[in-house]
Symmetry: C2
Subunit: 219 residues, 2 copies
DNA sequence: GTAACGGATATTGGATACAATAACCGAAGT
DNA sequence: ACTTCGGTTATTGTATCCAATATCCGTTAC
């Protein structure tokens, strides 16, 4: 007879727990651009020494989420309008290609799950939830492609810019427009029209890019 | 009057020095897939404690060059044929797009530098040099695009697979074929034909993918 | 008043020491 | 012979302590 076994922290080191918590705070925009991340302050928050905190900050720096200067510490890494513009072009390129490859492999379960996320997105209460469901909707569709390397690059890129997407969704028409475009993308996927899904995804991303740059320009 | 000032280790921490050294060894294929990386052994090599070694390994894990298991240590991360196939497709997508954007921005200096690397490639002595000049040739052309985010993704991807490219160059016809294709790509760039440069780059990468999979299949 | 210098404080980088876990090995029992 | 248990060793994860550097602030010279 087998004993009921539960994985107790088999994959979680203190560093990765801290890294994930900080990443979540950055991605959700709770930590603002340029905000300093003090090692001993974070260490106190997690009841650890500074060693795992430093490893977590090293991970985040490698992911481009924080910028570190020797003997000066880490700050949340911002993004310039030029970088934003380029990253949205990159997203259109890669996400367009991935959804095109994904459409022929989508199952009913894929479409169901996407539909669920779309409904949750439409009836969500605040910017944080919008961002979560928006991302889940897209990722579910991409995942059907089975292109794990492409997916990992997409996820890292989204980590880098997700807070700007959330801000975008909060603007006037941001939510309604995204919802409309999501429905069109899902319809194309359900119809098995890979070319249309790719084109709509590209428009979805490049339209958001134009909006973002416009709002940045107004400041 | 101003004093001649030299940056003395302003940007170099022990961790990043160790990281770069290990990365070079992995990229050049001197550390084989699955080879364990012991913390205290590396620490002795660099005359440091294990702390900066651990940070270096953390960086390499984030870059996908090593795989770590809790309480078991880090090993050089290999790559499956499926992953290789997907990564070469990814390269064709991104590098094709980047060189297309780069062609209109190339200067005479860009083409000169690429030509120099191409000549060095053709007259290089061994696999290591071939790999170095091959990579420099492509990167110089890509850099003209000014697409820094795309470039950073390409560099990280190349770090991950460069040793397989080097192995490929060492095979029969690998070097001659690469040289021929490089000349064609450079000619298209010099002629200002962005579409041709893109198509030739894609063929260059996808042909190498086919060769790689074939050689993997023979084993 | 202002700029340059010097010391006090805060913060990070690294070394050492200890705790937790895995791998190995040998002995005992069946 | 095979399995299982226990202990020993090797290796990693973390805490504590010290060194190196930056920042702040008062003082002083002009």
């Amino acid at each position: 007879m087998k004993i009921e076994s539960v994985d107790i922290a088999l994959t979680s080191s203190a560093a990765s727990i801290i890294c994930e918590a900080l990443k979540k705070a950055i991605v959700e925009g709770r930590l603002k651009d340029g905000e300093p991340l003090r090692q001993d302050e974070i260490a106190r928050l997690f009841n650890t020494s500074r060693i795992p905190v430093r490893e977590a900050l090293t991970m985040l720096e490698q992911q481009g989420l924080v910028a570190t200067q020797r003997y000066k510490g880490a700050v949340v890494a911002g993004i310039s309008p030029e970088e934003a513009s380029e990253i949205w072009e990159f997203r259109a390129l890669v996400e367009g290609e991935v959804i095109e490859a994904a459409v022929p492999k989508m199952t009913a379960a894929t479409l169901d799950e996407a539909q669920t996320h779309l409904a949750a997105f439409a009836s969500a209460a605040g910017p944080m939830e919008w961002g979560d469901w928006n991302r889940k909707f897209h990722i579910v569709l991409y995942r059907a492609s089975g292109l794990s390397y492409h997916l990992s690059v997409i996820e890292k890129t989204l980590d880098r810019v997700d807070r700007y997407i959330r801000a975008q969704l909060s603007l006037s028409n941001g939510l309604a427009r995204a919802d409309t475009e999501h429905r069109a993308i899902l319809a194309a996927c359900a119809a098995g029209d890979a070319a249309a899904a790719k084109a709509l995804t590209r428009q979805h991303i490049l339209g958001a890019k134009a909006n973002l740059l416009e709002s940045l320009h107004r400041d």
